[in-house]
């Protein structure tokens, strides 16, 4: 059963709640595989996409999820709104509340912003990525994809590779996979591994060759070019040599291991093209499943969940 008002992160979700969310996404995936991809479930509900950061993938995924459920959706981005005129998040939130939003989906460059928003409004708040904190819907779609492909989550070995320091996807994946009973290993240069991360219940490696053996799932993180300019590693070339996933390294993992990437990819840097397009890659499925998972979230948080409860 899912009784949370908001989805701010996976840190505080139980295994039961995560399972319930993933189960709810199964019929949603069925809806988007139909020729007529629309159900009236959220007719009359209003969903606001409030994006303070550029995002094509996540924003369109949420937007389509809302449309497939017949909710009305509005996009507000920081460049085209009063945000650009210096309005505070608090005041923007109050305005959106007054416009009648039922769900607000927030993408923000600063960690913790969704909590500030949730404290300010009555509408349900979904965190669509806040700084280096969490990106729960991405982790849920990763969990969904892995569970669908491998049939389980408990007991799997999941290796997360790359810029863990700046990655909200990594944090949400760590909470989600460990909560579901998987073993999580992170791997990257010491300058991109945050302090104290072992206390999240993960093991840390700096050599990919040591991290990969026995892996069932490999999640490659995007490396941003500006991190090199900040001096966090010497060059993209050296990064690719040490941490790029290629055929030789993939062979170290368990046979049938899945390769995930939250996108957008830097082909030839963190992942070679033949792996990205190869049979182990589930990167495109992740995108499809993302819509299903987000439909489930909207359904459960926009009031659909009440009816759902009554149905039982």
């Amino acid at each position: 059963m899912f009784k949370c008002k908001n989805l701010l992160g996976l840190q505080d979700l139980s295994a039961e709640e995560i399972t319930f969310l993933l189960d709810t996404a199964i019929p949603m995936k069925d809806i988007i595989s139909r020729p007529i991809k629309k159900v009236p479930t959220l007719r009359g509900k209003t969903v606001v996409n409030l994006f303070y950061e550029n995002s094509t993938r996540t924003r369109s995924s949420f937007e389509l999820a809302a449309k497939y459920l017949s909710a009305d959706s509005v996009n507000i981005s920081s460049s085209s709104s009063s945000v650009a005129k210096g309005e505070s998040l608090y005041d923007t939130a109050r305005t959106i509340q007054s416009l009648g939003a039922d769900v607000i989906i927030l993408r923000h460059p600063m960690a913790g912003s969704p909590r500030l928003l949730a404290r300010t409004v009555d509408a349900a708040v979904i965190n669509a990525g806040d700084g280096a904190h969490e990106h729960p819907s991405q982790a849920l779609l990763d969990l969904f994809t892995v569970r669908e492909r491998l049939g389980r989550l408990a007991g799997l070995k999941v290796v997360i590779v790359g810029d863990v320091l700046h990655s909200r996807v990594a944090r949400s994946d760590i909470w989600g996979f460990t909560r579901m009973g998987a073993e999580v290993v992170v791997c990257g240069p010491p300058t991109l591994i945050p302090p104290g991360i072992d206390r999240m219940g993960v093991r840390v490696f700096h050599r990919l060759e040591e991290a990969l053996p026995g892996a069932d799932v490999i999640i490659m993180l995007r490396i941003q070019k500006e991190r090199q300019q900040q001096g966090l590693f010497p060059s993209l070339r050296e990064y690719a040599v040490l941490y790029g996933l290629n055929r030789r390294r993939l062979a170290l993992a368990r046979s049938g291991a899945l390769v995930l990437h939250p996108g957008p990819m830097n082909r030839g840097v963190e992942i070679s093209a033949d792996i990205a397009d190869g049979t182990s890659s589930v990167i495109e499925e992740q995108v499809t499943n993302g819509v299903a998972v987000r439909m489930a979230l909207l359904y459960l948080l926009a009031g659909g969940g009440d009816r759902h409860e009554n149905d039982y």
């Binding site: 912003s113 280096a132 302090p195």
Partner: protein, 443 residues
């Protein structure tokens, strides 16, 4: 004007006096015993602690320039409510207190407010920009008790060395805000497990410790006394302990929040727990407690830093650093240090009165005959839940809301006049009120 404080436990750190006794006050000074007459004010202090007036050597009164956050009038009202008879105010106002005229302005405003002693700290460098020395001698002449660029480190070691050489001549202490900016690099909280799970940029302990090391080395070389402001890490405590062993003229203060909270207080992105230096880890907190107990840390000071509600009601990264402290400090000292046996009442009193007075060269912090009758009376058993709505200061930015404190200041006497008296549920005393001097008139 005569006053007798009857039957309290008199604590005087200088004479090490700790006994139940009456304290006599006449003409604003501690006096020899005299016979009470009809004009003598009698204060029953049975069960209370009677201490030299507390001095908070690190506050931000925000005036001039940031009067929406605090003024000298409201800040000193907070001080007397918190049991402080004097405060040293930092120069990061607007304009910066880097010249004699602003030092005079602050002193005049404090006289107008008429509540407690205000001891201005002058800036070390013009505009606290770290580029050229401010007119230190002129400020000293006008009453600056110490020099600091608090809020900012003096980044350049050469500049700091010059300032220390110059201050040595003036006999003034330098209060150093220790922060190596290249390691802070946009950090907003302590670097550790919590910064990792919150996705917030961390400030490593090394950022403080590198500067503490540098300033200890410069203090040793120049002979200028250096006071380390708001010490927060285990490494800094060890450095100060070692320096004192070597006879270097270095002292240190810790804030109540650094001895009672860890970085876990930031876990819900509470901007009221955003402070610089940041709330540190458990090992740091334990080291700070050990440093208090063994005397490495000389002073408890609040770093009282009021901000408006709107300034703090923003994204964590955007919120200003700082929390108010004047009205919760004494309660935290008694709850966390005295009742837990880390400090004796006499040691706690020393760190709140005589030690800061002596570092600042003030003739305060003692109860010997002839001393100024600045007195703080504490009820060590009085319990109170922190409620910012009751604060006398403007700032409500405290992480201690709802925290139960035991041991509260109940009366604040400045130069023989009662400036504040706390209401008590059990007592028959007057309602909580601020008592103003008669010659001040109404405001």
């Amino acid at each position: 004007m005569k006053m007798i404080i009857r039957g309290g436990r008199v604590l005087d750190p200088v004479s090490k006096r700790d006994e139940i006794a009456d304290l006599y006050i006449q003409n604003g000074l501690v006096a020899l015993p005299f016979e009470a007459d009809s004009s003598t004010q009698i204060i029953d202090a049975a069960g209370r602690l009677v201490a030299p007036g507390f001095i908070d050597m690190h506050v931000h009164l925000r005036e001039p320039g940031f009067e929406a956050k605090e003024t000298i009038a409201t800040g000193t009202a907070a001080a007397v409510r918190g049991g402080f008879t004097g405060v040293a105010c930092m120069p990061n106002t607007n304009p910066v207190a880097d010249n004699a005229a602003i030092i005079e302005f602050i002193k005049n405003k404090a006289l107008e407010a008429g509540r407690c002693g205000v001891y201005p700290v002058g800036a070390i460098t013009r505009g606290s920009q770290g580029k050229e020395m401010a007119e230190l001698a002129g400020m000293r002449e006008s009453g600056a008790v110490a020099f600091s660029d608090d809020g900012q480190p003096v980044k350049d070691a050469w500049m700091m060395r010059l300032a220390m050489q110059y201050c040595k001549m003036l006999g003034a202490v330098i209060i150093s805000h220790c922060e190596e900016k290249s390691l802070v690099a946009g950090g907003v909280m302590h670097e550790g497990y919590y910064s990792t799970i919150l996705g917030l940029k961390g400030i490593p302990a090394a950022a403080e410790e590198i500067m503490v090391s540098r300033d200890i080395i410069l203090a040793a070389e120049t002979g200028c006394p250096v006071h380390i402001a708001h010490i927060s890490t285990a490494g800094s405590v060890a450095l100060v302990r070692e320096a004192k062993k070597r006879g270097i003229s270095v002292t240190a203060e810790v804030t109540p929040h650094h001895f009672s909270l860890t970085d876990g207080a930031v876990a819900d992105y509470s901007t009221n727990a955003k402070v610089n230096p940041p709330l540190r880890g458990e090992a740091d907190l334990q080291a700070v407690l050990a440093g208090l107990a063994d005397g490495t840390i000389d002073v408890i000071a609040t770093d009282h830093a009021p901000h408006t509600y709107d300034e703090k009601n923003v994204e964590f990264d955007l919120a200003p650093f700082g929390m108010v402290g004047l009205e919760t400090a004494v309660g935290l000292v008694w709850s966390e240090l005295v009742h837990k046996g880390i400090l004796t009442p006499l040691q706690a009193v020393a760190k709140l009165s005589f030690n800061p007075a002596s570092i600042l060269g003030l003739n305060r912090g003692m109860l010997t005959e002839g001393a100024a009758a600045d007195i703080t009376i504490i009820d060590p058993d009085l319990e109170e839940t922190v409620d910012p709505a009751k604060f006398a200061g403007k700032g409500r930015n405290t992480p201690f809301t709802g925290r139960k404190l035991k041991g509260m200041p109940v009366m604040t006497i400045v130069a023989g006049e009662i400036k504040y008296q706390r209401s008590q549920k059990s007592g028959v005393r007057s309602r909580e009120s601020e008592v103003r001097s008669q010659n001040e008139g109404t405001v």
